[in-house]
Symmetry: C2
Subunit: 234 residues, 2 copies
Amino acid sequence: MIETRLRSMLDEGAEKRPSQTRKATVLLREMVISNKLLPGSMHLESELAELLAMSRTPVREAAIILEGQGLVEVIPRRGIKIVPLSVADMEEIYSILTELESLAAYDVARKGPEADDIAELRSHTDDMDAALKDDDRAAWAEADHAFHSKLVAMTGNRRLISIVATYSDQVHRARLLTLHMRPKPYKSNADHRALVDAIAAGEADRAREIHRDHRVAAKNLMIGLIATHGLSAL
Amino acid sequence: MIETRLRSMLDEGAEKRPSQTRKATVLLREMVISNKLLPGSMHLESELAELLAMSRTPVREAAIILEGQGLVEVIPRRGIKIVPLSVADMEEIYSILTELESLAAYDVARKGPEADDIAELRSHTDDMDAALKDDDRAAWAEADHAFHSKLVAMTGNRRLISIVATYSDQVHRARLLTLHMRPKPYKSNADHRALVDAIAAGEADRAREIHRDHRVAAKNLMIGLIATHGLSAL
DNA sequence: GGCGTTGACAATGTATACGTTAATGCATAC
DNA sequence: GTATGCATTAACGTATACATTGTCAACGCC
């Protein structure tokens, strides 16, 4: 079977020749979402080229790609700007993620998921519980992310997967920052379990509502934390 | 006021220096969505560069940008492929558009739109009615598109606007093709009116449902037409 | 007759050169 | 002191050169 693929949008992590452009894209993305390159900072093409030990061309191409993903902004003669997120930006993003992940929950519940997939979701919730017990927030965040990713992946909708990944990247820094500020996420774990139950039972509308409420709560929590701590942009 | 912008993602049609890269991007996009470059066809960088009377560099950059928007796929040494859409692809896209536009309807209704904006929506529905009376399908499609764009724009959510624009582009060809195959869209016009009424009345949940049903119907209609006519990809 | 191998070739990926353009600072006028 | 205009120059946008690499077909082996 010949697959027609939309590579950059849909195959995210797929095999690719490790071209300089690809390396630059991957490295820059990681530096951005992990806060190695600070939000709002500007970097000349030549500076990044030197940093990555390559010429301007692949850096430039990587910048175009990452601009398409909303992580940087190319400003002629000023440099490549690491896009900072305001609270308003986060609200935009969370609205979209809420809606699309809720759609995912609905679709997955409706089409009746494989037992294997349900088991994987449950294993992620188990990991979350374990992490909560150990008070290991990094592990919790990782399991939480794995759960959400798996849920979306189960739809099989490649474009949906791509959009959610893109916007999750954009709020990644904010999640990192608030991870240690939030109260222990007992409620969140309970939400995840309830969602899996609804999905397993094929209750699509209920799954959608559970997930929507879950996401709205997460958004409010995060925005509250950011406002409380007087962070205007990050 | 210094505006922090996410240009490529969020400012779609904004002012930009008419660089060669920009020209290439705009021209190629139009050639793709208007079927000047046929779905599935492949084009070498050098071929497009000659066609557009510029060097390979801006063509290459445009290809990267359009790949990020799902319109083309860059296949090393084979060329730039105009991405064809299968029925499955269209279902993916319509699911997303349905969900996000329904969110838009909800948000707009909830926050209470300006009278001006409501008036503009109504003027688009008037145009649709006029076009329907004249049996001018091109005008109808244009007014329909203007209505949907305006609705989404009214949210003020730039990312939402960007995503909807991107995926609308992807199904543009299919809309062109089915425009003259579908029955006269009386129901569609009625849906739009009902939606505006719900929004004007601030009935957010109802607006969401009306729009969702509207979109689902549109999707089923299109997919039915395509299946009926034995079109496997376009 | 089909399949793996090999080599020529074409297209790309990357670096680099260079002309253009806009940001910046300073001189000057008000 | 502030505003205006201009020169300077850094950075970019684009073209181009070249090495690399994947494709394709011819060839020979199985």
